[in-house]
Amino acid sequence: MNGLGPTTSICPRCRVVLDAELVERDGRVLLTRTCPEHGSFEAVVYGDAERYAEIQRFSKPGEEPRQRQTEHSRGCPHDCGICPEHEQHTCLGIIEVNTACNLDCPICFADSGTGTAGHGFSLSLEQVESMLDAFVAAEGEPESVQLSGGEPSIHPQILDMLRAARDRGIPLVMLNTNGIRLARDPAFAPALAEIGVHVYLQFDGFEEATQVAMRGKSLTEEKLRALERCEQAGLSVSLAAAVERHLNEHEVGPIVRFGVEHPAVTGVFFQPVTHSGRFRPEADPLDKLTNSDVIEAVCAQLPEWFRDDDFVPVPCCSPSCRSATFALYDGSDLVPLPRLVDVEQYLDYVTNRAVPDLDVREALEGLWSAKAAGGSAPVVERLECVACATAIPAELREVAARGFMIVVQDFQDRYTLDVEKLRKCCVAEIVPDGRMIPFCAYNSVGYREQVRATTGAESGGAVGWRQPT
C-alpha cells in the first residue's frame, strides 16, 4: 500500500471530473490527468514518495455525520455540502463572515481585500447563528469552529458572532485574523478573552521580503503589538504561517522558535500556499511546497528539537493532508511528545499493532485532529489523559498538558485536487444556506465563487472600527 494508483481529479481549467493517476517521479508524488479539451496537467502533491507510502497506515475509518445536507446528483466533487458520497464527518467548521479585509495581500486564497464592496458579502449575525445551528445539527456536539473572512475582526458584529458560537457550547472558538485590529484597538483582545476565543494569527515570518511578497507590506510591528495585547489579555494564540516555495521556507524554524519563546503562543500552523484565489503568477504546480517539504525544513532548521518522525499524520483525514506534533516546552527547551509516548503505536490503523490503552488512543485521536489547537481546553484535557497513562505524577500533569502544537496542513487547489482524498476531508466551510462544503472543494471546484455571487452584500458591507485617539 504505497498510496499511488488511480484516483479522480478535475481539469484545472474547466473543472470537469477526470480519471487521474498518482505516480512517483524523482522521489516525489505527482497527480496527473488529461482533459480532452485542455490537455494534460501534472502537479506535485507530496514531496517525498517514500514517506507518502510510509504514512498511509495512519488512516482511521471515517465517521458518520449526524446529517447530510445534499443529495447525489452530479457526482463528487460537484454535490458538496455534505453529500452521501462523503466518507467523513466534520472536525472543524469554518465560517467566513465577510469578504472585506483591511489588507490587500498579493497572496489570498479567499480573494479578499479592501475593495470587495459590490462583489462580496458581509453576513448578518442571524445568518451566522443559523450556520452555527446547521453545524450543531450535523455534528451534535461540535468541538471546534473558526470564524474567518475576509478579515473577520472588522465585521461590526464579530464579538456577537464569536459569543454565539461559545453559547452553542463549542469549546474551541477560533478567530482567524491578521492581527491589525488586535494591535490597534486595545479593547479588542480583552473582549475576545472575555468570550473565550483562541486567536489564529496570520504570521508568515519576520523578513520584510516575505511580508511584502505575501501581504503587500511589512507588518512585524503590528504582529508583535497584537501578540503583546493577547498576552496581556490572557489569550492563547496559534501562529498561522502560509509557506511559499522560494519565499519563506527558510523562516519556518525561526517562527517555531519565536512561538516557543512567546508566552501567548501555544502553537504554530504551517500551510503550504494553496494556489487558489490570488497567488504568485510564477507559482508552478510542479514546484509546489508540500507537507513533507515543510516538515523537512522545520527539522533542518531546528535539528536540536525535531526529527521527521516527530510529525505524525492526522489519521482522521487523508494522511498526506495534515501532520502534527505536540511538545513539552518551557520557553527555551522543547521535547516532542512522540519521543516519550509511542504515538505511532496508537494511531497506526493498518499495521494493526496491539493498542495498550484505548483511552489513550481516544485522547491521541483528539489531539492528532483538525479540531485541536494548542492550549485549548479539550487539548489540555487530552494531554492530561496521555500524561496520566505514561505514569507522570499527578501534580506534574498540568505541565504535560501545556503542550506546544505544531501542525503542517496542505490544502488542495485545482491543480492538486485528489477527489479520493477529498472524500475524507474533515474541515468544512459552512455556507449561509447551511451546506458544509469540504474546504478543499470550496477553494478548487468553484463553490467559493458561487457562494460569493449568490450571498451578496446582505448586511451592508464591512464597517471599520474606530481607531483610538
Partner: protein, 261 residues
Amino acid sequence: MAAADLKASCAAAYAHPGVRWLLGGELHPGGPATTRRALELAGLRPGQRMLDVASGSGASALLAAGELGATAVGVEYGEEAVASARDAAAAAGLGDRVEFASGDAEALPVEDGSFDVVLCECSLCTFPDKRRAVEEMRRALRPGGRLALTDVVAEQDRLPAELRGGLATIACVGEALSAEGYERLLADAGFEPIVAESRDADAARLAERVSDRLRGARLLGLGALAELPLPLEEAIAMVGLAREAIADGSLGYAIFGAARQ
C-alpha cells in the same frame, strides 16, 4: 569506588524503574535487533546451550530460547533482576529451557566447557576485572564454542574528563576499551577473533533517546525523580557530551565475535 560497590551500584542502577524509563526499555544500544545480530554472528543454533553473562531483565536469554530455540542460562549480579527474569521466563512459557542464577561474572557459577555460545552485552566494560571475566567466559565455553561480546567502544584519551571513571562507569563509558583493547583482551585470554562489527548508529540512537527523556523529565519538573544516580542537569550535560563523542567517533558500540581456541 570499591569493586564490590561498583558491581552493586551498576546492578541497582539498571534495575531502577526511572533508569528503565529513561532507556525506553532498551537496556543496551540497538535492543533486541542487536542481540539477534550478535547471536547470528556467534552462529547460535536450535538445541545449543547459551550462557548470558549479566543477563539483566532476561530479555536476551528469552530471545535465544524463544526465537532461536536454544537452551539458555542467565547469570546476573542483582538478585531482584534474577527473580523478575525468572518470572518473565515463566510468563513466556519458557521456564523449561531458560534458567537464571545469581552470580558474579568474575566467578561464574557454571561448569567448565558447558556452553556452545556465551553472550555478554554491554556489561564487560563495567566489570572491574575484565581479564578475569573474559577468562571465566572462556572456561564456560566448550572448545570451539563462540563468544558474542557487545560493548561500548571508547578511545579514552579522546573523551572529555566527565566521561571517564566514576559515574560514567555505570553508564558503560568510563571504563570502556577501544576496539583494539577488546580484541587484545580476548586474544590474551585465549580467544581467536572472528569478527568486529561497528554498531555506532545504535549508540547514537540510544543516547538521543536518553537525552530526550532526561530533557522531558526536566520539562515536567521531574528533577526529583527519585534516586537517579546523578542530578538531572548533570545527566543531561553528560549525555550531551556522549552524543558529541559518538558523533566524532571517539565513542561507539560494537559486536565482537570470537571462538575459544
